[in-house]
Subunit: 284 residues, 2 copies
């Protein structure tokens, strides 16, 4: 059965879906993150892949808000993909002839220093996706325009790679969540993802919600604050931490947190992705 | 002397600069947030205005990262602007003839439900700014394209308003920081903004950094976690809370926090903006 991801083909989301499901799996691109969720909810796909965090840009707000507000799907897997941008132009284009560079604004931002150094005169043009901008450039007829995207997009759509690894930071990694109707069974090296809300607007309310974690000796691996969208200054806290919700210590912790928070949503537990495998790749 | 803001003219950043400096002040648009900071650092502008948080989209990462990493400017003022999007087309265009809608991806996202309901067939096209997309549509000759932006952009650039208040949530507010070489003096109703980092990757490290706030009875108004950009899973915490750094209780708190955190950067204290003034506006 199909694995849904945010298309078009050639994006890093497709790379994440391949890492999760393997090259034999049937993958299907969708045009937006809500559509990925809907595909899983309706049973059209068995799982969906969403980006949730990048090591440079931080949390991917759209995904997190879908997890908090819309969806009751569970986290069943996580995948981390190294993001390596290439600059692609039409075959025959010369670097000194490039006048415009197009990509998703986030990819343009991630290559800001490179663009300032190598293409200070080029106009930066926004597009809705990195893969789509590579496709547009590769299939168009304009030799003065280039696109930033993953090398996989160039393999799919053609064009010529003008420069590789143009992102400003070497350790550019994106974490993806795989969502399904059930979360994963414990493996001994797991993580759990929850959303918390407190209605008490008083000193120390976040502190009190974190107290059970400190007492249980459980390492919080991330805290993200998202607006409730109700009023400026009202937040939902997304926490992820080591351990599986079925581990006795974590189960007890979740009971304690449930007592303190006004709302607790357990998004799920899954095996921790061994992100340390990329240390060498990025140093090399 | 000049107040710098993120241009072009007609954006919400200009609205924030006007709210801060008044309509008599000399305002100057810059093409990027780093350029706004540089203008203040070099003395070309006396203050600079940056968006830091939206009630729907959450933190504005680019601004926060500049505050953490690049700049030593101080927070001297804050301003909150209600975001009200309009849909603008060339004079003479008819709603049923619109085939493409352009804007910054964030503005397109904020009007997603409106676009799905009213313009389900229209292609969404990314642009680098809301103001710029209104200008492009108003000055172009294409009656099948519309742009999403603030009404102020339509006043500046022309075109015709097809629909008003098209944002999905009514309480769409953006908080801006005004940065200068010095922060503000205490007024009795202030807030303070700091960045914290801990090198200890161990259970309870965030909890311990928050303990002094709970003990002092100081209300944390926001916690934002930003990646250090060094490695996935390493974070800087941005906290803002009630009180001025010169208040004795806050000064003592900051000493306590400095003991616990490995790095503490005090971005500044300023008068709290009375955001409650917008409650009626948004309910009405």
């Amino acid at each position: 059965m199909t694995v849904a991801y945010l298309g078009p083909r050639g994006t890093n989301s497709e790379e994440a879906a391949l890492l999760y499901a393997g090259s034999e799996a049937e993958l299907e691109p969708f045009s937006g993150m809500p559509e990925v969720i809907k595909a899983v909810e309706s049973g059209a796909a068995r799982a969906g892949v969403l980006p949730v965090e990048n090591s440079i840009e931080g949390p991917v707000s759209v995904s997190l808000d879908l997890l908090i507000q819309t969806s009751n799907l569970k986290l069943c897997h996580e995948v981390v993909v190294p993001i390596r941008h290439v600059l692609v132009a039409k075959e025959g284009a010369r670097p000194e002839g490039i006048r415009r560079v197009m990509s998703h604004p986030q990819a343009l931002a991630q290559c800001r220093l490179f663009l300032e150094r190598e293409f200070p005169q080029a106009e930066q043009v926004a597009r809705m996706s990195t893969g789509g901008s590579v496709q547009e450039v590769a299939r168009g007829g304009d030799l003065t325009v280039a696109a930033i995207g993953p090398e996989r997009a160039q393999h799919l759509y053609g064009g010529e790679v003008i420069a590789r690894d143009i992102q400003d930071a070497r350790s550019n990694l994106t974490r993806f969540m795989v969502l399904a109707h059930e979360d994963a069974e414990p493996t001994g090296d797991d993580k759990t993802f929850i959303a918390l809300k407190t209605d008490k607007d008083e000193p120390g309310s976040l502190f009190r919600m974190l107290e059970p974690f400190a007492k249980a000796g459980i390492q919080l691996t991330n805290v993200v604050t998202r607006p409730t969208k109700g009023w400026l200054g009202e937040y939902v806290f997304l926490l992820d931490f080591q351990g599986h919700r079925k581990d006795p210590v974590v189960a007890k912790l979740l009971d304690d947190v449930r007592e303190i928070a006004d709302e607790l949503k357990i998004i799920g537990s899954c095996p921790r992705f061994p992100v340390e495998q990329y240390r060498d790749l990025l140093a090399g």
